[in-house]
């Protein structure tokens, strides 16, 4: 335990009856150890009543003929994991429909590109298509524009599209299973799924809308058996990903920023593993970093959010940058002597990466590379730092990290700059056949007409 030197200053707010107990450091440590235990262990999440597994309701509703469940089938080769309460969760590992993130694709595109690159290397079949919207939850949480019905309708529309998308390739329904890239989409969709399963009124309202859109299955709402985040796929594939590793990262000190909407929203669905940090932290990201041999270093503010705030990152960044620097980046540097901060969500990566430079203006100079777990994995598995990891979109000093990994980033950057000439000539390299990305409407080329 560290004690901050505050001179003679005492924190106020205790009330006039407060008297200093004058405990020794050791006694103070013992007296407050229960608080630390509570904060350090996932017990703060598990000591709760009224937690139910909504999947029980889901199976009953299907039995009653009210809904159809999009199953994680054997063809998706699921891996089983344990969640907060020790429940099982099925994570599909192949035939995946990429549900992209607007923040990742718009701002840090190396995030999804690295994920697809890893899938290519592992020969995983997937579809990345244009028929999807974002979950709209960033806007909702930021502005209040939207409501439960709109969120539910968007969720069911996008997941229905995942269910039928393979038709464009002459393949059956339910061929692909949706893999959600964004942490907020993941949390929001799980929350909305819970409300849909609980509320017949909500189901009735959105059923009318989905009916208008032609998005019902046998006249019923389609509900996914599991809502799966990409970090969960990375987690269950971590040992296979590690077989691709080309660059040793055992000297790298990594701090993990777990994303609030991944494990605090619908916390009962987050993955925990007793072998990973004693089961006291959500397992994703730490699992892959450890599998790759990096040192995962804990820090005291691991539980804090990043400061994104949804509205704040757009219109009140004084809060965002203060929180990101003071509560996350500086702590990771000073306590953990981190070489990198690894995250698994759109908003967190953006916030932590982009809000360091401005610290100089307040005399808070910080410098810590920030990457998503799949970007780090791709990097040490030999992905091109610019063509694939797209590290040029990161404001933080990813170059410092690359130097520690022994990557000649200057040579890679020069290669990429030269490659841009090829791109200008329309000869860019893609991770998949572009003809697959349009599955209906303008631009769709039926299979029979494809060369």
């Amino acid at each position: 335990m560290t004690t901050r030197d505050t001179g003679n200053e005492r924190f106020t707010g205790h009330g006039p009856e407060w008297r200093d107990a004058n405990l020794s450091s050791e006694d103070a440590r013992i007296a407050t150890s229960w608080v630390e235990q509570k904060i350090d262990r996932r017990s703060m999440l598990t000591n709760k009543e009224r937690v139910e597994d909504v999947r029980d309701i889901m199976w009953q509703l299907e039995k009653d003929g009210e809904i159809v469940v999009h199953r994680v089938s054997d063809e998706h080769e699921p891996a089983m994991v344990k969640t907060l309460y020790g429940w099982d969760k099925k994570v599909p590992t192949r035939r995946l429909w990429h549900h992209k993130s607007c923040g990742q694709c718009g701002n840090i595109p190396g995030y999804p590109a690295s994920l697809l690159w890893l899938m290519n290397r592992l020969d995983i079949e997937y579809l990345d298509e244009t028929d999807q919207t974002s979950c709209t939850a960033w806007n909702y949480h930021g502005s209040g524009i939207g409501n439960l019905e709109s969120l539910a309708a968007v969720f069911l529309r996008n997941f229905h599209q995942a269910y039928v998308a393979a038709r464009a390739q002459g393949l059956p329904d339910a061929y692909y299973y949706p893999l959600v890239h964004c942490g907020t989409s993941f949390g929001n969709y799980k929350e909305v799924r819970g409300y849909l399963l609980h509320s017949a009124t909500l189901r009735e309202r959105v059923k009318k809308i989905l009916g208008k859109l032609g998005r019902l299955v046998d006249g019923k709402l389609l509900i996914p058996e599991e809502v799966v985040h990409y970090s969960e796929w990375v987690h269950v594939m971590r040992d296979r990903i590690a077989t691709l590793q080309e660059i040793d990262c055992s000297q790298i000190r990594a701090t993990i920023h777990p994303a609030c909407h991944v494990y605090k929203m619908v916390p009962e669905d987050a993955i925990y593993d007793d072998q990973i940090l004693g089961g006291n932290r959500v397992a994703v990201s730490t699992g892959i970093l450890q599998a790759l041999g990096a040192q995962v270093i804990d820090y005291s503010t691991w539980y804090d959010c990043c400061g994104f705030g949804f509205r704040h990152i757009i219109s009140e960044r004084e809060f965002t940058r203060s929180f990101a620097i003071d509560r996350k980046i500086r702590v990771a540097i000073e306590e953990a002597h981190a070489d990198v901060m690894i995250g698994h969500d759109t908003g967190c990566i953006t916030t932590l990466d982009k809000n360091q430079w401005i610290g100089k203006a307040a005399g808070k100079e910080v410098d810590l590379p920030v990457l998503a777990d799949c970007q780090f994995a791709a990097l040490v598995c030999g992905a091109h730092p610019y063509k694939i990891v797209q590290s040029h979109w990161h404001a933080s000093s990813t170059e410092t990290l690359m130097e520690k990994l022994g990557i000649d980033w200057q040579a890679s950057k020069a290669e990429f700059v030269a490659y841009l000439e090829q791109v200008k000539a329309g000869k860019q390299e893609n991770l998949y056949d572009p003809r697959r990305m349009i599955t209906s409407g303008p631009g769709y080329i039926p299979i029979a007409k494809r060369a």
């Binding site: 999440l45 000591n47 709760k48 009543e49 923040g103 694709c105 718009g106 701002n107 595109p109 590109a113 990345d128 244009t130 028929d131 919207t133 709209t136 960033w138 806007n139 909702y140 502005s143 209040g144 524009i145 939207g146 409501n147 439960l148 019905e149 309708a153 968007v154 949390g187 409300y195 609980h198 909500l202 809308i209 609030c260 605090k264 916390p267 959010c305 705030g309 949804f310 509205r311 704040h312 757009i314 809060f319 940058r321 929180f323 982009k354 809000n355 401005i358 610019y386 694939i388 040029h392 979109w393 990161h394 404001a395 990429f416 700059v417 490659y419 200008k424 893609n430 991770l431 409407g441």
Partner: protein
């Protein structure tokens, strides 16, 4: 109310020594009724012992005059004036991280309750909501008209000067850099990914059917008009495409 000693409470709730409230009791009741009638309300509010664990862990409470404990208490005790006051400013401080919800021993979700209050502030066209959301209009235009919240052409040094000089560390036209992303869906500049026209049309139906456009009209009529025009244009494009398909089939 402009005299020197007026407080925010006086401005929004009324002078405590005056017998005439600034907001009629019936209006306060209607606002609370709207919050309470959301089906999430009973799920997100189960009781409160004022333990304050939510506020202790709240990022917004570090920097703002905001306390999730206070929000829960106001709703739990049905303090209508206090609820109205909190809707003027405080609810917009919440960072929506749901740390409070994960920690609350009662299973409350103060962050979730804040969302119900924000939705209600919009429904009632509160000036506070209009003020707070004005800088958000660019984002809402993008999201409602395209289904993407964030687009590459929104991230530039004019709008994000505080992000420093490294928005892209390679100096090349945005269009070229986007073409160099090896996912063809991402070779775009005006949306985060290429969105199928059919997808946009379906999204517009969702907005209409769920009252989102009405919310928007209440808060920002000009933005609503701009978005309506975009929607009309895209719907025309879709009709034209469908007609072309029919013609092709006839041929």
């Amino acid at each position: 109310m402009t005299h020197a000693t007026s407080s925010r409470v006086q401005t929004h709730i009324g002078d405590p020594v005056s017998e005439k409230p600034a907001v009629a009791r019936a209006d306060l009741e209607e606002i609370f009724q709207d919050i309470q009638s959301d089906l999430r309300f009973d799920h997100e509010l189960n009781g409160c012992l004022n333990c304050g664990i939510c506020t202790a862990t709240c990022p917004a409470a570090h920097y703002y005059d905001f306390s999730p404990r206070e929000i829960v208490q106001l709703l739990w005790t049905e303090n209508l004036e206090g609820i109205y006051d909190a809707m003027q400013e405080k609810i917009w401080a919440c960072a929506q991280c749901y740390t409070c919800a994960a920690r609350c021993p009662f299973g409350n979700s103060p962050g979730g309750l804040v969302m119900l209050m924000r939705e209600t502030a919009i429904k009632h066209g509160m000036q506070s909501a209009k003020n707070v959301l004005r800088p958000f209009s660019r984002v809402m235009l993008k999201l409602i008209s395209t289904g993407n919240q964030l687009a590459p052409d929104m991230i530039n040094r004019d709008h994000f000067a505080d992000w420093g000089p490294n928005i892209s560390k390679i100096d090349a036209p945005l269009k070229v850099l986007r073409k160099a992303i090896p996912m063809p869906t991402l070779n775009t500049t005006a949306t985060a990914w290429e969105v199928n026209l059919k997808t946009s049309i379906e999204l517009y139906t969702i907005w209409e059917e769920t009252g989102v456009l009405k919310q928007l009209e209440t808060i920002d009529e000009n933005l609503f008009d701009v978005i309506s025009d975009i929607m009309d244009e895209k719907r025309e494009d879709w009709k034209d495409w469908l007609a072309d398909q029919e013609d092709e089939q006839d041929d």
